[in-house]
Amino acid sequence: MIPAPFDYHAPTTLSEAIALLQQHGDQAKVLSGGQSLLPLLKLRMGAAGHLVDIGRIPGLEYIKEEGGFLTIGGRTRESELERSEIVRSKYPILHDTALVIADPLVRNRATVGGNLAHADPANDHPATMLALGAEVTVTGPKGQRTIPIDKFFTGIFSTALAPDEILTEIRIPIPPLRSGGAYVKLERKVGDFATAAAAVQVTLDAGGAIERAGIGLTAAGPTPIKATDAERFLLKKKPDAAAIAEAARLAAAATSPSADRRGSVQYKREMARVLTARALAKAIERAGGR
């Protein structure tokens, strides 16, 4: 399959890239790893007059802790996340996620920023970032601004990014002591999109009760879902089986999946419940809760 014709630009600075986006307006698309965009262009489900490749702009690939945040450069490849020692040891939810995004070959090209900016509700990072309470830094003609992740996804394949802005950094608050997280995904085979998946990040207080809970759901509606009722319910609760079961029920109630060849609406909603319960149990265990 061959994409419809387009022009290709390979800027070497952010300001050059932003100027190209301004110049070409809604005709332009940012090309990061290209693992979602190029298949769409090949299938001609999408079209772009101009691709602005950010792959030659230095300084957009990093994973580091600074100023109370884990900061991830927008063009950081999923394979880097998968291999990162700091991610493996301190952010197991992110490591879980990186391991189930597409397959290892795709992860050598696919980027974290691209996974978010593409805003496919079946992508895996949106749920994880919702659970972690992340924010994203976007860079445009007027400089940088920060968008909380729960304000970022505005619709299917739509985000709060302006056409001349680029997602340049993901910022995750460094979890306090007694925190843990997990991402649990049901997929038909390696590389498939989720039938359903749940991301959970919890922090326990000194007495072992839940102090903070973040729950994000993949492929559960037209946008990534933040299960706020379930999150609120868990506050100050002892993390026992009854609390997990009720939170999972509330999370499933927040979903509005659509039927496709991966399953019916009822099946996907039920899987959202089961996977939320499993992710919660794992997150609590990782937080040292049992």
Binding site: A10, L31, P39, P104
Partner: protein, 156 residues
């Protein structure tokens, strides 16, 4: 039609070519350089038959624009044999019957070569993880794993 001049090294040979923006790397390799060992299977980023090594990383060449590889170094299955001698991974697939129909084999071998470059002694789970983006529709995975283990032993 937008075209660009690119410089790319494939299997040790430098090329300078005019290419269209939309030309996929797999089409550049197969149609322009006539390196047809790299296969097109699903053409939708699933099967891995088109896997080549780009700047040390195995990638799906059906999902990369040739212009994105400008300045890069590509290794394809044709670049494995040296001086008439099979690469240990090729020998491994031969000795351990790592192929039946052979369609996935070039991609499978490129992924394996990249794995062995990073990990000289991979465990079976590590091998299976590494090749999880390469599909063998003959489902000959047991012998594929043995072939990679054979090559790993030869290369150590």
């Amino acid at each position: 039609m937008a075209t660009h001049t690119i410089r790319i090294t494939v299997n040790g040979t430098p090329y300078e070519r005019q290419v269209e923006s939309r030309l996929l790397l797999v089409h550049f390799l197969r149609d322009q350089l006539r390196l047809t060992g790299t296969h097109i299977g699903c053409d939708t980023t699933h099967c891995g038959a088109c896997t080549v090594i780009l700047d040390r990383e195995p990638v799906k060449s059906c999902t990369i624009l040739t212009v994105q590889a400008d300045g890069g170094t590509v290794r394809t299955v044709e670049g494995l044999e040296e001086g008439g001698k099979l690469h240990p991974i090729q020998d491994g697939f031969w000795q351990e019957h790592g192929l039946q129909c052979g369609f996935c084999t070039p991609g499978m071998m490129m992924t394996s070569v990249a794995l062995l470059g990073r990990n000289a002694n991979p465990s079976e789970p590590e091998i299976r993880h590494a090749i999880s983006g390469n599909l063998c529709r003959c489902t000959g995975y047991v012998n594929i794993v043995k072939s990679i283990q054979y090559a790993a032993a030869r290369l150590r």
